[in-house]
Protein backbone atom coordinates (compact mmCIF):
# COMPACT_ATOMS: atom_id res chain seq x y z
CA UNK A 1 0.00 0.00 0.00
CA UNK A 2 1.44 3.34 -0.92
CA UNK A 3 1.81 6.06 1.63
CA UNK A 4 -0.68 8.25 -0.18
CA UNK A 5 -3.41 5.58 -0.23
CA UNK A 6 -2.79 4.85 3.41
CA UNK A 7 -3.18 8.49 4.37
CA UNK A 8 -6.44 8.75 2.41
CA UNK A 9 -7.79 5.63 4.13
CA UNK A 10 -6.67 7.01 7.48
CA UNK A 11 -8.36 10.35 6.77
CA UNK A 12 -11.65 8.66 5.93
CA UNK A 13 -11.46 6.43 9.01
CA UNK A 14 -10.58 9.27 11.37
CA UNK A 15 -13.37 11.44 9.91
CA UNK A 16 -15.96 8.71 10.49
CA UNK A 17 -14.64 7.97 13.98
CA UNK A 18 -14.52 11.68 14.80
CA UNK A 19 -18.11 12.17 13.66
CA UNK A 20 -19.28 9.23 15.76
CA UNK A 21 -17.44 10.58 18.81
CA UNK A 22 -18.93 14.07 18.33
CA UNK A 23 -22.40 12.51 18.20
CA UNK A 24 -21.85 10.13 21.09
CA UNK A 25 -19.81 12.04 23.66
CA UNK A 26 -22.39 14.76 24.51
CA UNK A 27 -24.78 11.98 25.54
CA UNK A 28 -22.47 10.71 28.28
CA UNK A 29 -23.41 11.66 31.86
CA UNK A 30 -22.43 15.26 32.54
CA UNK A 31 -18.78 15.82 33.56
CA UNK A 32 -18.37 16.31 37.31
CA UNK A 33 -21.93 15.27 38.18
CA UNK A 34 -22.80 13.50 41.42
CA UNK A 35 -24.36 10.32 39.99
CA UNK A 36 -21.74 7.57 40.43
CA UNK A 37 -23.55 4.30 41.17
CA UNK A 38 -20.35 2.20 41.10
CA UNK A 39 -18.68 4.66 43.44
CA UNK A 40 -21.53 4.33 45.95
CA UNK A 41 -21.37 0.53 45.94
CA UNK A 42 -17.57 0.47 46.11
CA UNK A 43 -17.46 2.91 49.05
CA UNK A 44 -19.89 0.76 51.05
CA UNK A 45 -17.80 -2.36 50.35
CA UNK A 46 -14.62 -0.45 51.24
CA UNK A 47 -16.04 0.51 54.64
CA UNK A 48 -17.23 -3.04 55.31
CA UNK A 49 -13.62 -4.20 55.05
CA UNK A 50 -12.18 -1.24 56.98
CA UNK A 51 -9.88 -0.18 54.15
CA UNK A 52 -8.94 3.50 54.14
CA UNK A 53 -7.66 3.60 50.55
CA UNK A 54 -10.67 2.83 48.39
CA UNK A 55 -8.53 2.29 45.27
CA UNK A 56 -6.47 -0.38 47.05
CA UNK A 57 -9.64 -1.99 48.34
CA UNK A 58 -11.03 -2.24 44.82
CA UNK A 59 -7.80 -3.49 43.28
CA UNK A 60 -6.82 -6.05 45.90
CA UNK A 61 -10.08 -6.94 47.60
CA UNK A 62 -13.13 -6.36 45.43
CA UNK A 63 -11.39 -7.13 42.14
CA UNK A 64 -8.58 -9.34 43.44
CA UNK A 65 -8.88 -11.86 40.65
CA UNK A 66 -8.65 -9.17 37.94
CA UNK A 67 -5.50 -7.82 39.53
CA UNK A 68 -4.05 -11.31 39.49
CA UNK A 69 -4.65 -11.33 35.73
CA UNK A 70 -3.05 -7.91 35.43
CA UNK A 71 -0.02 -9.05 37.36
CA UNK A 72 0.27 -12.06 35.10
CA UNK A 73 0.24 -9.77 32.05
CA UNK A 74 3.15 -7.81 33.52
CA UNK A 75 4.99 -11.03 34.38
CA UNK A 76 4.55 -12.42 30.86
CA UNK A 77 5.65 -9.16 29.26
CA UNK A 78 8.83 -9.14 31.30
CA UNK A 79 9.54 -12.77 30.43
CA UNK A 80 8.96 -11.87 26.78
CA UNK A 81 11.35 -8.91 26.93
CA UNK A 82 14.01 -10.99 28.66
CA UNK A 83 13.66 -13.64 25.96
CA UNK A 84 13.82 -11.10 23.13
CA UNK A 85 16.82 -9.21 24.44
CA UNK A 86 19.27 -12.09 24.94
CA UNK A 87 22.54 -11.93 23.06
CA UNK A 88 21.61 -13.55 19.78
CA UNK A 89 23.58 -15.08 16.93
CA UNK A 90 26.90 -13.28 16.32
CA UNK A 91 26.71 -11.16 19.42
CA UNK A 92 28.69 -11.28 22.60
CA UNK A 93 28.67 -9.66 25.99
CA UNK A 94 31.49 -7.33 26.90
CA UNK A 95 32.61 -6.00 30.23
CA UNK A 96 31.22 -2.59 30.99
CA UNK A 97 33.64 -0.23 32.62
CA UNK A 98 32.37 2.24 35.15
CA UNK A 99 33.44 5.29 33.34
CA UNK A 100 32.48 8.57 31.95
CA UNK A 101 32.55 11.84 33.79
CA UNK A 102 29.73 12.40 36.24
CA UNK A 103 29.20 15.79 37.81
CA UNK A 104 30.02 15.74 41.51
CA UNK A 105 26.69 17.34 42.28
CA UNK A 106 24.97 14.45 40.47
CA UNK A 107 26.91 11.90 42.50
CA UNK A 108 26.09 13.69 45.74
CA UNK A 109 22.42 13.83 44.84
CA UNK A 110 22.43 10.13 44.00
CA UNK A 111 24.10 9.20 47.30
CA UNK A 112 21.53 11.25 49.21
CA UNK A 113 18.52 10.11 47.21
CA UNK A 114 19.42 6.41 46.91
CA UNK A 115 18.56 5.43 50.52
CA UNK A 116 15.73 7.95 50.70
CA UNK A 117 14.07 6.51 47.59
CA UNK A 118 14.35 2.93 48.84
CA UNK A 119 12.79 3.86 52.18
CA UNK A 120 10.07 5.83 50.40
CA UNK A 121 9.30 2.87 48.12
CA UNK A 122 9.04 0.47 51.08
CA UNK A 123 6.81 3.00 52.84
CA UNK A 124 4.51 3.35 49.84
CA UNK A 125 4.16 -0.46 49.58
CA UNK A 126 3.62 -0.98 53.32
CA UNK A 127 1.00 1.75 53.69
CA UNK A 128 -0.82 0.89 50.48
CA UNK A 129 -4.04 0.10 52.30
CA UNK A 130 -4.32 3.32 54.28
CA UNK A 131 -2.64 6.07 52.28
CA UNK A 132 -2.38 6.76 48.54
CA UNK A 133 0.00 4.27 46.99
CA UNK A 134 0.27 0.50 47.03
CA UNK A 135 2.21 -2.36 45.57
CA UNK A 136 2.31 -1.13 41.99
CA UNK A 137 3.44 2.39 42.79
CA UNK A 138 5.84 1.37 45.55
CA UNK A 139 7.39 -1.33 43.40
CA UNK A 140 8.18 1.20 40.69
CA UNK A 141 9.69 3.61 43.25
CA UNK A 142 11.87 0.83 44.68
CA UNK A 143 13.24 -0.26 41.33
CA UNK A 144 13.81 3.34 40.27
CA UNK A 145 15.74 3.91 43.48
CA UNK A 146 18.09 1.04 42.67
CA UNK A 147 18.71 2.46 39.21
CA UNK A 148 19.75 5.84 40.62
CA UNK A 149 23.18 4.21 40.88
CA UNK A 150 23.32 4.07 37.11
CA UNK A 151 22.51 7.78 36.90
CA UNK A 152 25.40 8.35 39.30
CA UNK A 153 27.74 6.56 36.91
CA UNK A 154 28.17 3.47 39.08
CA UNK A 155 27.08 0.76 36.67
CA UNK A 156 29.44 -1.81 38.24
CA UNK A 157 28.04 -1.07 41.69
CA UNK A 158 24.55 -1.38 40.27
CA UNK A 159 25.45 -4.80 38.88
CA UNK A 160 26.77 -5.93 42.26
CA UNK A 161 23.78 -4.57 44.17
CA UNK A 162 21.35 -6.12 41.76
CA UNK A 163 21.86 -9.87 41.60
CA UNK A 164 19.55 -10.43 38.67
CA UNK A 165 18.84 -14.06 39.51
CA UNK A 166 17.34 -12.94 42.82
CA UNK A 167 15.06 -10.48 41.11
CA UNK A 168 13.96 -13.07 38.59
CA UNK A 169 13.06 -15.35 41.52
CA UNK A 170 11.45 -12.45 43.35
CA UNK A 171 9.22 -11.67 40.42
CA UNK A 172 7.98 -15.25 40.19
CA UNK A 173 7.67 -15.48 43.97
CA UNK A 174 5.44 -12.38 44.02
CA UNK A 175 3.06 -13.86 41.47
CA UNK A 176 2.98 -17.20 43.31
CA UNK A 177 2.32 -15.43 46.65
CA UNK A 178 -0.51 -13.45 45.11
CA UNK A 179 -2.12 -16.61 43.75
CA UNK A 180 -1.49 -18.47 47.02
CA UNK A 181 -3.23 -15.73 49.02
CA UNK A 182 -6.19 -16.00 46.68
CA UNK A 183 -6.28 -19.77 47.03
CA UNK A 184 -5.89 -19.50 50.80
CA UNK A 185 -9.15 -17.55 50.92
CA UNK A 186 -10.83 -20.34 49.00
CA UNK A 187 -9.30 -22.89 51.37
CA UNK A 188 -10.86 -21.05 54.33
CA UNK A 189 -14.25 -21.65 52.80
CA UNK A 190 -14.78 -18.19 51.32
CA UNK A 191 -14.66 -17.25 47.64
CA UNK A 192 -11.41 -17.14 45.68
CA UNK A 193 -9.49 -13.92 46.54
CA UNK A 194 -11.96 -13.07 49.32
CA UNK A 195 -10.78 -10.98 52.25
CA UNK A 196 -10.88 -13.58 55.04
CA UNK A 197 -8.46 -12.05 57.57
CA UNK A 198 -10.00 -9.93 60.39
CA UNK A 199 -9.97 -6.38 59.13
CA UNK A 200 -9.32 -4.31 62.24
CA UNK A 201 -10.22 -0.63 62.41
CA UNK A 202 -10.06 1.89 59.61
CA UNK A 203 -6.71 3.70 59.15
CA UNK A 204 -4.76 1.45 61.53
CA UNK A 205 -1.45 0.23 60.11
CA UNK A 206 -2.71 -3.34 60.46
CA UNK A 207 -6.14 -3.07 58.93
CA UNK A 208 -7.95 -4.00 55.75
CA UNK A 209 -7.29 -7.74 56.15
CA UNK A 210 -5.51 -9.22 53.16
CA UNK A 211 -5.04 -5.92 51.28
CA UNK A 212 -1.57 -5.13 52.75
CA UNK A 213 -0.46 -8.72 52.06
CA UNK A 214 -1.56 -8.48 48.44
CA UNK A 215 0.19 -5.11 48.26
CA UNK A 216 3.45 -6.65 49.39
CA UNK A 217 3.18 -9.51 46.90
CA UNK A 218 2.50 -7.02 44.11
CA UNK A 219 5.29 -4.73 45.31
CA UNK A 220 7.69 -7.67 45.12
CA UNK A 221 6.56 -8.57 41.61
CA UNK A 222 6.50 -5.05 40.20
CA UNK A 223 9.79 -4.01 41.77
CA UNK A 224 11.55 -7.14 40.51
CA UNK A 225 9.87 -6.92 37.11
CA UNK A 226 11.03 -3.38 36.48
CA UNK A 227 14.55 -4.25 37.62
CA UNK A 228 14.68 -7.22 35.23
CA UNK A 229 13.13 -5.12 32.46
CA UNK A 230 15.56 -2.21 32.83
CA UNK A 231 18.45 -4.65 33.23
CA UNK A 232 17.57 -6.21 29.87
CA UNK A 233 17.47 -2.85 28.14
CA UNK A 234 20.63 -1.56 29.85
CA UNK A 235 22.44 -4.77 28.98
CA UNK A 236 21.39 -4.34 25.38
CA UNK A 237 22.75 -0.79 25.24
CA UNK A 238 25.92 -1.20 27.25
CA UNK A 239 27.10 -4.78 27.22
CA UNK A 240 25.89 -6.57 24.11
CA UNK A 241 27.92 -5.93 21.00
CA UNK A 242 27.96 -7.52 17.59
CA UNK A 243 30.87 -9.88 16.98
CA UNK A 244 33.87 -8.67 15.03
CA UNK A 245 33.16 -9.15 11.36
CA UNK A 246 29.45 -8.53 11.71
CA UNK A 247 28.38 -4.94 11.33
CA UNK A 248 27.87 -2.98 14.54
CA UNK A 249 24.41 -2.38 15.83
CA UNK A 250 22.63 0.33 13.92
CA UNK A 251 21.60 3.60 15.49
CA UNK A 252 18.12 2.22 15.85
CA UNK A 253 19.27 -0.19 18.53
CA UNK A 254 20.56 2.56 20.74
CA UNK A 255 17.51 4.65 20.07
CA UNK A 256 15.24 1.77 20.99
CA UNK A 257 17.03 1.03 24.19
CA UNK A 258 17.34 4.61 25.39
Amino acid sequence: MTRRLRLILLGVGLAVLGTLLVVALPQLPRFGGDAHPYRDLAVVATFQHATANAVSSINFDQRGFDTFGEETILFCAVVGVAALLRPVHRERRREVASGGRVLESTSLLVYVLFPVTLVLGADVVAHGAITPGGGFQGGVVLSTGIHLLYVGGRYRLLQRLRPLAWFEQGEALGVVLFGALGLAAAAFGAALFANVVPQGTLSDFVSAGTVPLFNMAVGLTVGSSIVVLLASFLDQTLAIRADQGGAGPSDGVREGAA
Partner: protein, 115 residues
Amino acid sequence: MTVYAYFVAAAIMLIGILGIATSKNLVHAVVCLSVAQSSTYVLLIAVGFQYGGVAPIFGSGVDQKTPVVDPVVQALTLTDIVVSAAVTSMLLALVIQMAKRRRAINPDDLGPLEG
Protein backbone atom coordinates in the same frame (compact mmCIF):
# COMPACT_ATOMS: atom_id res chain seq x y z
CA MET B 1 -18.40 22.79 28.78
CA THR B 2 -19.97 19.79 30.46
CA VAL B 3 -18.40 17.30 28.02
CA TYR B 4 -15.17 19.19 27.37
CA ALA B 5 -12.99 16.60 29.15
CA TYR B 6 -14.38 13.76 27.03
CA PHE B 7 -13.37 15.60 23.86
CA VAL B 8 -9.87 16.06 25.22
CA ALA B 9 -9.67 12.28 25.62
CA ALA B 10 -11.00 11.73 22.09
CA ALA B 11 -8.51 14.25 20.67
CA ILE B 12 -5.57 12.55 22.39
CA MET B 13 -6.62 9.19 20.98
CA LEU B 14 -7.02 10.55 17.44
CA ILE B 15 -3.63 12.26 17.62
CA GLY B 16 -2.08 9.00 18.76
CA ILE B 17 -3.66 7.05 15.89
CA LEU B 18 -2.58 9.69 13.39
CA GLY B 19 0.95 9.46 14.74
CA ILE B 20 1.07 5.67 14.40
CA ALA B 21 -0.23 5.73 10.83
CA THR B 22 2.14 8.41 9.60
CA SER B 23 5.14 7.18 11.58
CA LYS B 24 8.50 6.80 9.89
CA ASN B 25 10.18 5.24 12.89
CA LEU B 26 9.04 2.24 14.91
CA VAL B 27 10.09 3.80 18.21
CA HIS B 28 7.98 6.80 17.31
CA ALA B 29 5.07 4.46 16.54
CA VAL B 30 5.40 2.79 19.95
CA VAL B 31 5.37 6.15 21.69
CA CYS B 32 2.33 7.17 19.66
CA LEU B 33 0.58 4.01 20.84
CA SER B 34 1.31 5.09 24.42
CA VAL B 35 -0.18 8.50 23.63
CA ALA B 36 -3.31 6.87 22.23
CA GLN B 37 -3.54 4.66 25.30
CA SER B 38 -3.17 7.61 27.64
CA SER B 39 -6.43 8.99 26.28
CA THR B 40 -8.16 6.21 28.20
CA TYR B 41 -6.70 7.55 31.46
CA VAL B 42 -8.17 10.97 30.74
CA LEU B 43 -11.53 9.47 29.82
CA LEU B 44 -11.72 7.22 32.89
CA ILE B 45 -10.71 9.92 35.34
CA ALA B 46 -13.13 12.37 33.67
CA VAL B 47 -15.98 9.87 34.01
CA GLY B 48 -15.30 9.45 37.72
CA PHE B 49 -14.87 13.15 38.54
CA GLN B 50 -17.31 15.00 40.73
CA TYR B 51 -17.21 18.72 41.51
CA GLY B 52 -16.31 19.13 45.18
CA GLY B 53 -15.35 15.47 45.51
CA VAL B 54 -12.19 14.61 47.44
CA ALA B 55 -9.69 11.77 46.95
CA PRO B 56 -11.15 8.39 47.96
CA ILE B 57 -8.85 7.94 50.94
CA PHE B 58 -10.95 7.65 54.07
CA GLY B 59 -9.89 8.59 57.56
CA SER B 60 -9.68 11.93 59.31
CA GLY B 61 -12.25 14.30 57.84
CA VAL B 62 -13.41 11.95 55.10
CA ASP B 63 -16.13 9.47 56.06
CA GLN B 64 -18.70 7.43 54.24
CA LYS B 65 -20.95 10.43 53.63
CA THR B 66 -18.28 12.72 52.19
CA PRO B 67 -18.53 13.04 48.40
CA VAL B 68 -15.46 11.43 46.88
CA VAL B 69 -14.45 10.96 43.26
CA ASP B 70 -15.10 7.51 41.83
CA PRO B 71 -12.42 5.06 43.08
CA VAL B 72 -13.54 2.35 40.64
CA VAL B 73 -12.31 4.20 37.56
CA GLN B 74 -9.12 5.15 39.40
CA ALA B 75 -8.43 1.47 40.03
CA LEU B 76 -9.15 0.77 36.37
CA THR B 77 -6.72 3.52 35.37
CA LEU B 78 -4.03 1.93 37.53
CA THR B 79 -4.59 -1.38 35.75
CA ASP B 80 -4.50 0.47 32.44
CA ILE B 81 -1.14 2.09 33.21
CA VAL B 82 0.42 -1.22 34.19
CA VAL B 83 -0.78 -2.94 31.03
CA SER B 84 0.39 0.03 28.95
CA ALA B 85 3.86 -0.17 30.48
CA ALA B 86 3.99 -3.91 29.79
CA VAL B 87 2.93 -3.43 26.16
CA THR B 88 5.38 -0.58 25.60
CA SER B 89 8.34 -2.53 26.96
CA MET B 90 7.45 -5.57 24.89
CA LEU B 91 7.11 -3.51 21.71
CA LEU B 92 10.39 -1.69 22.30
CA ALA B 93 12.12 -5.05 22.68
CA LEU B 94 10.59 -6.12 19.36
CA VAL B 95 11.84 -2.90 17.75
CA ILE B 96 15.36 -3.66 18.96
CA GLN B 97 15.14 -7.12 17.40
CA MET B 98 13.85 -5.59 14.19
CA ALA B 99 16.70 -3.10 14.08
CA LYS B 100 19.21 -5.90 14.60
CA ARG B 101 17.84 -8.29 12.03
CA ARG B 102 16.70 -5.96 9.30
CA ARG B 103 18.79 -2.85 10.11
CA ALA B 104 15.68 -0.79 9.48
CA ILE B 105 13.19 0.82 11.79
CA ASN B 106 11.19 2.69 9.21
CA PRO B 107 7.91 0.78 8.77
CA ASP B 108 7.90 1.74 5.07
CA ASP B 109 11.16 -0.16 4.53
CA LEU B 110 9.80 -3.35 6.03
CA GLY B 111 7.51 -5.95 4.52
CA PRO B 112 3.74 -5.83 5.07
CA LEU B 113 3.81 -8.29 7.96
CA GLU B 114 6.97 -6.87 9.55
CA GLY B 115 6.30 -3.16 9.87
